[in-house]
């Protein structure tokens, strides 16, 4: 059995832990598209997903990356200060729909009022014979002088090919928190997605 948990902490204190049930349509398309590929290589094989602007974009299931250029069919590990993919947070509370393609109201990276400083991602994992997990997390710091209220969390994937300067981004999960989480000035917020396996 696979479980997906969403964990939210403020200043090291857990304020929410619950099942994440909010994959959106893009996740199904990407998983199906990967399996519908023969794993061969040499062309750009892709599936059409909904981009962050609501228009069609592509998720690559296969990419050739010549020379010193790099490519990734699906990555989540956005770097420091990059709020365009990976774990993202927002202030919107619109109910989740399978057709969601972006947060209702993303809190952007920054140090101004209503912004949060987006850190890098961290990943931990543990693999056993009867249970295993992998957890991806991201820290956000409020460097402004005002409270920032977080009501929604999203996971945005990126398919990229550096040679052709392709960076297609699309949301695969969105959760609305049952209660708003207030991040005080200079406080830190950590959001964790944990995928676990257990024999049943």
């Amino acid at each position: 059995m696979i479980r997906v948990e969403l964990i939210v902490e403020v200043d090291g204190k857990e304020v929410y832990r619950g099942p994440s049930k909010s994959f959106v349509r893009n996740m199904g398309i990407v998983l199906a598209g990967m399996l519908k590929n023969n794993g061969d290589a040499g062309t750009f094989k892709s599936v059409v997903v909904t981009g962050l602007d609501g228009g069609s974009t592509y998720a690559y299931v296969e990419l050739p990356a010549p020379g010193n250029y790099s490519a990734g069919p699906l990555v989540f590990n956005a770097g420091d200060n990059d709020d365009s993919f990976g774990i993202v947070v927002g202030s919107g509370s619109a109910p989740v729909s399978p057709y969601d393609y972006n947060l209702a109201s993303k809190i952007p990276h920054g140090t101004g009022t209503g912004q949060l400083d987006y850190d890098t991602h961290s990943t931990i994992s543990s693999y056993g014979g009867s249970s295993s997990y992998v957890e991806i997390s991201r820290t956000f710091v409020n460097k402004s002088g005002s409270d920032v209220v977080v009501r929604e969390v999203g996971l945005v994937g990126c398919s990229f090919h550096s040679y052709q300067d392709i960076y297609y981004k699309f949301m695969v999960a969105r959760d609305v928190l049952p209660n708003p989480v207030t991040v005080k000035p200079l406080a830190s917020l950590i959001v964790r997605y944990r995928l676990s396996l257990a024999l049943t």
């Binding site: 059995m1 994440s20 049930k21 998983l31 290589a41 299931v61 296969e62 050739p64 590990n77 009867s130």
Partner: protein, 203 residues
Amino acid sequence: MELELSPIRGYIEVLVFDKEGRVVQQGRHPMRSFLNNFLKFFEAFSKSDGVSITDTGGTARTIYGSGVGYQSRLGGLAPDNDDSYGILVGSGTTPVDLTQIRLASKITHGTATGQLDYDAVSVDDLGLDTSVTPPVYRFRLCRTFKNLSTASVTITEVGIAVRTRQGGDDLRFLISRDLLPTSYTVPAGGSAAVIVTVEVEMG
């Protein structure tokens, strides 16, 4: 007590046909056993450094979310006669362990006794179903196995292996293995169809 459902789940359906094409045995079972290798792909998607993983040949590999050279992930569309990936069947009965990297006893492709002729895998993207609560996104993998030998062949386990190209490496990894609660006997001249339907629960 409410039954807990996994947000990514599946069902395995097996149909056995005799040489006249009549269904002689069929069943549908929950797919219980995605393996550690499946999770390791998600770990690779989430980090810059590599993830250690073992291929179906028992060789330790390292996969990355990105890299130079050819990059593909989780390919399941195996062609005709290829028993290295896609839906695989076996005759083993070893209990499932999440660390497993291959079927306990794979039935190999071929026409000799104890073998099955592997057809190509088909994958159907069935799309979003909003008629159920919560909505689910479904896709289905299907493969037919013909028994061209003169003796029956018994299927007791089903797995999914995927093909991944990374740089110059052409790799195979087992991502699920299920022991069937019922064994399926494919008569000489008959065939079996194995259908794996995966559901991803939506918000």
